[in-house]
Amino acid sequence: MSTVTALKGAAPRLKTSAMIASFADPGQKTSSAPFGHALVKAAEADSRIVGLTADLGKYTDMHIFAKAFPERFFQMGMAEQLLFGAAAGLAETGLIPFASTYSVFAARRAYDFLCLDIAEPNLNVNIVGGLPGLTTGYGPSHQAAEDMAIFRGMPNLTIVDPCDSVDIEQAVPQLAASDGPTYLRLLRGNVPTVLDEYDYTFELGKAKVLRGGNDVVFVSSGLMTMRALQAAEALAEHKVDVAVVHAPTIKPFDAATVLAELDTDRLAVTLENHSVVGGLFETVASAVVTAGLGKRVVPVALPDEFLDAGALPTLHERYGLSVQRIVAKVLAELG
């Protein structure tokens, strides 16, 4: 029996699809290119804002800005060291650059330029990284599973991991207004709109309690807050009452808000679209240990390994980021 024959009758295999697959659920409310539109709006209010990219304008929603402000957009070519060195130079002249590329190239390829040209002089350069964590099926060359781990060690750098279009729209003007460099884990294309359903506003440096719950407390960032909220609803059907704390600013971390929520006998779970090494889980863990809480924390995070290529839903399921896997993990923990 040939391989082809063997595959017949099996469930159809999902396709990797485009580089940037949307992680929005079918029928979910979304907003198109929220970063690009938010940057245009911020730039209308502040003439110092400029945009630049390294041959990835269309793939980081920077093209929206380039179209609105062609004179304030600088194409630096596929040269990430130049991208960030030049962004530093632009900031030296009093401008406020937003510089976009993929997270893997910002974090891995141009680190020295971000560190010494931007962070050490504490310049207001805003680094915009596309495809953070596991948001593409293209494999390790494009999956920035460890971007926050790389960046958390850089002094002066503020790290923001937004959940949805609401977070992005509200974060962009705050990033422009804050002194010093920032790194935004960009969600691009049709980005889910989730947090408008909650009594929530994005505040740089703050974690927010989105919902209360008596049995379990989720601390999450990025798109995993969306999954955390969905998992909380699913767990309610199992009579498990789950609180969700959204911590979109990874550094500086709002330990006070998070620790106040963790200092109970509820099951504590962190959820992040990032490696279990060096991201939200370890940020929370170090805050817990430093405060002497003696509290167990369960991570939902990507494994410390190079991830597979494939379709995003397949990979999120495989690595435990799907709602179904979160629910199963919580139920198992609760025994």
Binding site: L82, G85, G89
Partner: protein
């Protein structure tokens, strides 16, 4: 015209070529003496590089650059970016020569809590535009500064200032230098001038044994730059090259590069003849000898 006002324009303005050469040569001589004195504080250091690059630094600070000594952050200033952080010893000497830092402060070079660290950083020293040291960064930052100044000029907030980036031939090993070279040409940054100190020496030895960078002239020409190559220890040739670069400088136009062949330890025969090293060892008793040789040499040239 007071000295302070004069320094708002480049030193070259209103002078004959002979006057300019004498002025720059005298400044270079003082920069070399400063460097030897600073080197003695540390007992070692990048004295060889400072001596080799002194004429380039003097040409910039005594002849080309527009700045205000009492206001190093003046918006209209030309920018001088030191990419080679370890050349800070020479740059500090030039900043003292320019009146931006006091000459007496040079004694604190490399000491704890000094504003003059061994590797140049913008956060420590007035007049130091960037933090160099991680080689291959300066030209990228220069591209951004030139872009930014041009972008802001119409609003009156920028300026037509020139941007100079000092780099070394070792930095031609770095891919980022060539990213920036392409970027400057692509964006037609005609107010940007790179100065490359070609002393043919790197940390591990001679440049042509570490990573062959030649043909350097052809490389820059191929990248679209207005390229000149001169003896970087010949003040007259340096000034002529800077004048050529200035004549074709424009907000939109070709960036220019001046490739300067220099001699490590220049001006002190004892060091010129010593086996070349990135980090030159000078014995305690030799410093005075170096100063005497430097003085004798400059007197000899003045007498010719």
């Amino acid at each position: 015209m007071t000295v302070a006002q004069e320094q708002n324009t480049a030193g070259r303005v209103g002078k004959t070529v002979t006057e300019r050469i004498e002025r720059v040569a005298a400044a270079a001589n003082r920069i070399r003496h400063h460097a030897l004195n600073m080197g003695e504080v540390q007992g070692q250091g990048y004295v060889g590089q400072a001596l080799g690059a002194a004429d380039m630094l003097a040409a910039v600070y005594a002849d080309q650059l527009r700045y205000r000594a009492n206001d190093p952050e003046w918006e209209g200033r030309d920018r001088f970016l030191l990419s080679t952080g370890h050349y800070a010893i020479g740059h500090y000497a030039a900043l003292a020569e320019a009146g931006i830092i006091p000459v007496e402060e040079l004694e604190s070079y490399g000491l704890d809590d000094s504003r003059l660290p061994m590797s140049g950083m913008s956060t420590y020293t007035p007049g130091m535009e960037i933090s160099g040291g991680s080689l291959g960064h300066g030209l990228s930052i220069a591209v951004g500064i030139a872009l930014g100044l041009r972008h802001r000029a119409p609003s009156g907030e920028g300026s037509s200032a020139r941007v100079y980036n000092f780099l070394s031939d070792g930095e031609l090993d770095e891919g980022s230098t060539w990213e920036a070279a392409m970027g400057a040409h692509h964006h037609q940054l005609g107010n940007l001038t790179a100065m490359v100190d070609i002393n043919a020496l790197q940390a591990d030895g001679k440049t042509d044994t570490v990573l062959r960078t030649e043909p350097v002239t052809e490389k820059w020409e191929a990248f679209g730059w207005y390229t000149q190559r001169v003896d970087g220890n010949d003040v007259g040739a340096l000034l002529a090259a800077f004048d050529n670069a200035a004549a074709q400088a424009a907000a939109v136009g070709r960036p220019s590069v001046i490739l300067c062949d220099t001699k490590v330890g220049r001006g002190v025969p004892l060091l010129e003849e010593r086996e070349k090293a990135h980090f030159m060892r000078i014995e305690e008793h030799e410093w005075q000898l170096c100063r005497e040789q430097l003085t004798a040499g400059s007197n000899g040239r003045a007498g010719r």
